[in-house]
Every structure is written in structure tokens, then in C-alpha cells.
């Protein structure tokens, strides 16, 4: 590649070619190294991300996934030459081969929920209210007398509720998955965000279980999207 770059979409165990085109319609090809190969397209300059190209990357990866076990790349991976890529594949061959086996035959499903703002004690699940101690109930009964304590209790209750819902949602879903990862960021204490690596034939069951959970969770709405390529499960430690 003289002066250009190779943009990498995925590491795969096979590549059948076919009609799939890359970003900006560029043709795809494989750079092989032993049992693993990287699927790439050639570009004069490294593609910059925008919404359209993000979807284009995703579409390429989804189509590659139809015929092969793949590890999707993050957007924006480029190398200067096939030789550079071959060296990387050679160095990480064992890691990639193992990861490919872990995701083979499975897809990623995403589940999100947002906990409501400081839910009033009575409006959700009685089960959560039961978590309050007798002393806490006294303060809750007369919050004006103990504003600081009431505030702290409110925060604590919110956190417990978050943990409780995480538990209520995550456990039954993780039970259907090969692997799972909770991803809620530290900056989003009220957000539930998780990814599940699910066998293709279990996807429908998973969706049904999300539906059932939604029916039992009251004002918390779960949102499930997928199937995605296994972006969250490309490494041994999910993340």
C-alpha cells in the first residue's frame, strides 16, 4: 500500500469474499496468518468516524459474521501495510484463535435500563421498601426533622434499588448467556447497562425473558438491542 492505509474490520477464521463491500464501497480482502485472518479494505487516508461510516463498518462486520466466526474491530484500526498486519496477527495468533472459539456460534445482545429519579418509597416494589431498617423508617416518616439523614437515606435507597434491579435483571439474563458483562459507568449510578454473549439459537428465548422482566419491573423499562457482533467479548476478560 503506497501511501495509503489498510482499514481492518474484523479478525476471522475464514473469509468467503462475495459481494460485501467495505467503507466508501472499497473492496474487501483478507490478510492471512495461519488459522486467523484480518479482513481489510484499502484507503488513501484513514477513514474518520461519522454516523454513516459507523453504520457502514457495522454492516460489513455483520455480513462477515454470517459466514464465519469473527472478532469485530473497534472503529478506526488501520495499518500501513499487509506486512505490518501479518506481524500483528502472528504475534497475537494464539489469543485471537482462542477468542474466536469463545464467540463461535454466539451473538451479543445489549440490555439497558434507566432507574427513575429518586423513586418515592411506595411507588415501586414493596420488596425494595422492606429493605429499610426500622430506624430508617422513622426518619422517612418525618424527613423534615432529619433533612441530612433523609437525604443520605434517599441516596442509599437509590443505590440499593439500583443493585436490586441489577440483580433482578442481570441474574436471570446472565443465566441464558455464555458470558456477560455489566457495563454501567461510574458516572451513571442510575443506569443499568449490560452485554450478553448468547448462542444464536437462544436469542429468541432471551428476548422473551426480557419481555417478561419488563412486565414485572413496573416503571423500569428495559431496552434490548441486537444481535450485535461480539464487540464486548473480544478479549478473555470481557469489557
Amino acid at each position: 500500500v503506497s501511501g495509503g492505509v489498510l482499514y481492518v474490520y474484523a479478525v476471522a477464521d475464514s473469509f468467503s469474499g462475495g459481494a460485501v463491500r467495505g467503507l466508501h464501497g472499497a473492496p474487501l480482502r483478507a490478510v492471512e496468518c495461519g488459522p486467523v485472518q484480518a479482513i481489510v479494505s484499502e484507503h488513501a487516508v484513514a477513514p474518520e468516524p461519522d454516523e454513516e461510516l459507523l453504520w457502514a463498518h457495522e454492516q460489513v462486520v455483520e455480513q462477515l459474521m454470517e459466514g464465519a466466526a469473527i472478532l469485530p474491530m473497534r472503529f478506526g484500526n488501520t495499518v500501513a501495510s499487509p506486512g505490518e498486519l501479518e506481524a500483528i496477527l502472528a504475534r497475537r495468533q494464539a489469543e485471537f484463535a482462542a477468542s474466536l472459539e469463545r464467540v463461535r456460534g454466539a451473538v451479543e445482545l445489549s440490555v439497558r435500563a434507566q432507574l427513575p429519579e429518586a423513586a418515592a418509597p411506595t411507588d415501586v416494589q414493596p420488596k425494595l421498601e422492606q429493605l429499610a431498617s426500622p430506624g430508617e423508617r422513622q426518619v422517612l416518616k418525618d424527613p423534615a426533622e432529619h433533612p441530612g439523614t433523609a437525604y443520605l437515606l434517599e441516596r442509599a435507597r437509590e443505590q440499593r434499588r439500583g443493585e436490586e434491579i441489577g440483580e433482578l435483571v442481570h441474574r436471570p439474563l446472565a443465566a441464558l448467556a455464555r458470558r456477560s458483562v455489566l457495563k454501567a459507568g461510574s458516572g451513571e449510578p442510575r443506569a443499568f447497562k449490560a452485554a450478553y454473549l448468547v448462542d444464536e439459537e437462544v436469542v429468541e428465548t432471551f428476548g422473551e425473558r426480557v419481555g417478561k422482566l419488563n412486565a414485572t419491573l413496573g416503571d423500569v423499562k428495559l431496552s434490548c438491542t441486537g444481535p450485535w457482533p461480539p464487540y464486548s467479548f473480544v478479549a478473555e476478560e470481557p469489557g
Binding site: E58, V79, S110, E204, Y231
Partner: protein, 107 residues
Amino acid sequence: MSRDRAQEDRRRAQQREAWQARREASRQRQERGVARALRDRDVSLLDLVDRLLDGGVVIHGDITLAVADVDLVYVGLRALISSVETIEREMGVSLSAAGPSLKASAL
């Protein structure tokens, strides 16, 4: 001032239309996939960004994205989503790190 505002509104409306077309195309692609009922169209955009900019394999080589670029992509996406507040509230998304001024300018 108000003319700039009107132009900006038109530009946003055009972006939104283009985006909705892409989203619909994506949905139709998905419907050929394994679980047609699962993909929620609004949330899938946010999940897409999460995955493509934060997940996936990173090889040695030049990643085109600096952290600032990621923020810009989020900002661009926020401008295209018609009801960011609703999505944040209902779908477990918080993009407020992008800044209160952006939130105020969301459609």
C-alpha cells in the same frame, strides 16, 4: 440571529431525515437477521456508538480516534436524536458528559 437559527434548524431537520433513512435501512437489514423483533431503533444507535468506539479489538496500529474525536461523534449523534431526554430517561443512557449547553440545544 434568528435567520441563523432558522438555517440551523433546517440543517438539523435535513440531518435528521438522512439519519432516519439510514436507520430504517439498518432496521431492514436487521430484520433479515436472527432476532428481528429485538432491535430498538433509537437505542441501537447508542449501542452502536458504545460498541464501535469503545468495544472491539484494538490492534497495534494507528487508531484514528482521539478521545476528543469520540466526544465529537457523540455530540453529532446527540444532535440527530429527536428526543434525547426521553431516551436518557427511559433507555438507560446518559450522554450528559457532553455538556449542558449541548443538552439545551438538543432537538
